[in-house]
C-alpha cells in the first residue's frame, strides 16, 4: 500500500489525500454549478439552444415595445407635430427595420451563447461524473482491502 498519499498521524485515522481532493472538487462543483448544469444537460444541445433563443426573441420583442413606448413618451409629441402619411411610413419603416435588425442580432448572438453554455455545462458534468466514478473506485478498493 502506498502510504505516501495518506495523511494523519495514527493508523486508524489515515485519510486518503486523493479521495479528499476528488470529493472537494465534486462538492465545489455541486455548490457552484451543479443544479444549473444538470438542468442544462438534460436537454439536447439543439433543443436547449433553440428553446432559449425563442425565449430571448420574445423578451426582445417585449423590450423593444417598452423602449419604443419610452421614446414615444419623450419625443412622441414633437414627432407627431405636422405628421404626414409619408412621414408616418418612414417612422414605421425605421421602427420595423430596427426591430428586425435587433431580432437578427440577438437571435444569432443568443443561439451561439446558449450553444456554448450547453457545451461548457456538458463538459463540467462529464468531469464531475468522472470524479464520482473515481471516488467510487477508491471506495470499492478499500472495501476489498
Amino acid at each position: 500500500m502506498d502510504f505516501g498519499k495518506y495523511i494523519g498521524g495514527r493508523e486508524d485515522v489515515m485519510l486518503d489525500k486523493r479521495k479528499i481532493r476528488l470529493m472537494t472538487r465534486a462538492a465545489i462543483y455541486e455548490k457552484n454549478y451543479g443544479e444549473e448544469d444538470f438542468k442544462i444537460s438534460s436537454y439536447y444541445k439543439k433543443d436547449y439552444s433553440s428553446l432559449n433563443t425563442w425565449v430571448t426573441l420574445i423578451w426582445i420583442t417585449v423590450g423593444y415595445g417598452l423602449a419604443v413606448a419610452v421614446l414615444f413618451l419623450g419625443w412622441g409629441e414633437a414627432a407627431m407635430e405636422g405628421i404626414t402619411l409619408a412621414k408616418l411610413f418612414v417612422f414605421a419603416a425605421v421602427a420595423i427595420g430596427a426591430y428586425v435588425s435587433l431580432l437578427i442580432a440577438y437571435g444569432i448572438g443568443a443561439g451561439s451563447f446558449y450553444k456554448n453554455k450547453h457545451i461548457k455545462a456538458k463538459q463540467r458534468v462529464k468531469k464531475y461524473l468522472r470524479d464520482l466514478s473515481r471516488i467510487e473506485k477508491i471506495n470499492n478498493k478499500k472495501e476489498i482491502n
Binding site: T56, G63, V70, L71, L73
Partner: protein, 352 residues
C-alpha cells in the same frame, strides 16, 4: 518592489485564511456605502431612508448573493421614486427592465458591476471604472458600466429636480413625465460619460491584451489619458458642467488603481522574458514567455532545544510572522539567501 511582492504574498495568505470573513466584510461595506449613497441622495421615502433600514439592508445583503444586493438597490431606488411620483417610478422601472432584457438575462452574475460603476460615479471617481474594467474584464463590460452610468444620472436628475417633479395635478404629471424621460435619455453629460468610459475600456483592454512589455502600466496610463481627453473635449464641445478637477483627479486615481491591480493580479518579470521560435509541419511559432514573479513569505526559524539533541526546524507560521519582515532590506536579504540556497542545493526540504 520585492517588499511589495512580499506584502502581496502576505495578503494572499491572509485572504486564503480568512476569505469567507473578508468577502462578507467587503460585501457588507459595499452594501452599506451603496444604500447610504442612495438614501442620502434620493431619500424621499422617510422610513426607507432611515439608518435602521440602511444598516438592515446592508446586513441582510451580506449573507445573500451580490445579485440580491443589486435587486435590493433597484427596489430602494424605485421606492424613493414612488414616494416622489408614481409615473417617475414607472419610467425608471421600465428603464431597469430594459437593462435586464437586453443584457442581464444573459449574465445575471455580472450585475454587481452596475453597482460598482454607479458607486464610482456617486463617489466622484468615474474614471477608475474604465481602467479597472478594461484591465480585469472584457469589452462586454462596457454594458454594465453604461447601465451604472445611466442609473447614476437618472437618480442625479431626480435629486436635482425633486421639487419640480413633485407636481400634483394631472397635466403637471404628464409634463413632468415627458420632461423626465427626455432629460434622462437625452442628457448630454450622461452620454458624454458613457462615451468616455466606453472608449476608455476599449483602449485599456486593447493595450492590455497586446504582447508588449509593461502592457498593464501602458494600458492604465493610456486609459487615463484617453478618458481625460474625451471628457474634456466633450465638455467643451457640448458645454456640459463636468468639473475638470474631478476629471483629472479621477483619471490619476484610475491610473493608481491600475498599478495596484497590476501588482495584485499580474506580477511578471520582464527582464527575464524569453523569445522562443520553433516550428512544426504546419506553422512557425514565435512565442514570448514572461515569467511570473512569485515570492514566498519569509519563513521563521524556530530552534527547538530538547533533552536529547538540539534540533532546528523550519516552520512556516500562518499568522504571527506577518509583522516580521517589514523593510526592503529584510526582504532583499531573504530573497538573496533563498536564491543562493537554491543554487547551491542547500535548501531544506519542508516537513509535511
Amino acid at each position: 518592489m520585492s517588499t511589495l511582492l512580499v506584502w502581496r504574498e502576505k495578503l494572499q495568505r491572509i485572504y486564503a485564511l480568512y476569505s469567507i470573513y473578508i468577502q462578507k466584510g467587503l460585501q457588507f461595506v459595499t452594501g452599506l456605502v451603496l444604500f447610504w449613497v442612495i438614501n442620502s441622495n434620493i431619500g424621499f421615502m422617510k422610513p426607507a431612508s432611515s439608518v435602521f433600514c440602511t444598516l438592515g439592508l446592508a446586513v441582510i445583503c451580506t449573507f445573500l448573493p451580490m445579485t440580491i444586493t443589486v435587486l435590493a438597490a433597484t427596489a430602494l431606488i424605485l421606492a424613493h421614486f414612488y414616494a416622489l411620483s408614481l409615473p417617475i417610478a414607472l419610467v425608471a422601472l421600465v428603464i431597469f427592465i430594459l437593462m435586464y432584457i437586453f443584457y442581464f438575462r444573459f449574465t445575471p452574475k455580472k450585475a454587481w458591476l452596475v453597482l460598482i460603476s454607479g458607486l464610482a460615479f456617486s463617489l466622484k471617481i468615474p474614471f477608475v471604472i474604465p481602467i479597472a474594467f478594461g484591465l480585469l474584464g472584457s469589452p462586454v463590460w462596457i454594458v454594465p458600466a453604461s447601465c451604472g452610468i445611466i442609473t447614476y444620472y437618472m437618480t442625479d436628475y431626480v435629486k436635482v429636480s425633486a421639487a419640480a417633479l413633485k407636481e400634483a395635478d394631472a397635466s403637471g404629471i404628464a409634463a413632468n413625465l415627458m420632461s423626465f424621460t427626455k432629460q434622462v435619455l437625452a442628457s448630454k453629460e450622461m452620454w458624454l460619460m458613457v462615451m468616455a468610459v466606453t472608449i476608455g475600456i476599449l483602449v485599456v483592454n486593447f493595450v492590455r491584451t497586446r504582447g508588449v512589455d509593461h502592457s498593464w502600466k501602458i494600458a492604465s496610463a493610456a486609459g487615463a489619458a484617453v478618458t481625460v481627453v474625451v471628457s474634456a473635449a466633450g465638455n467643451i464641445v457640448l458645454s456640459t458642467n463636468i468639473s475638470y478637477i474631478e476629471i483629472i483627479l479621477s483619471a490619476v486615481l484610475g491610473a493608481v488603481t491600475g498599478l495596484v491591480l497590476e501588482l495584485l493580479f499580474f506580477s511578471v518579470d520582464y527582464s527575464r522574458t524569453e523569445n522562443i521560435q520553433f516550428e512544426d509541419d504546419e506553422y512557425y511559432y514565435y512565442v514570448k514567455a514572461v515569467p511570473k514573479v512569485g515570492v514566498a513569505v519569509p519563513e521563521k526559524k524556530v530552534k527547538r532545544i530538547t533533552e536529547n539533541q538540539p534540533q532546528e526546524t523550519t516552520v512556516i507560521r500562518e499568522d504571527a510572522d506577518l509583522n516580521n519582515i517589514n523593510t526592503e532590506n529584510d526582504a532583499d536579504d531573504i530573497l538573496l539567501t533563498r536564491s543562493l540556497s537554491k543554487e547551491l542545493g542547500l535548501e531544506k526540504q519542508r516537513p509535511e
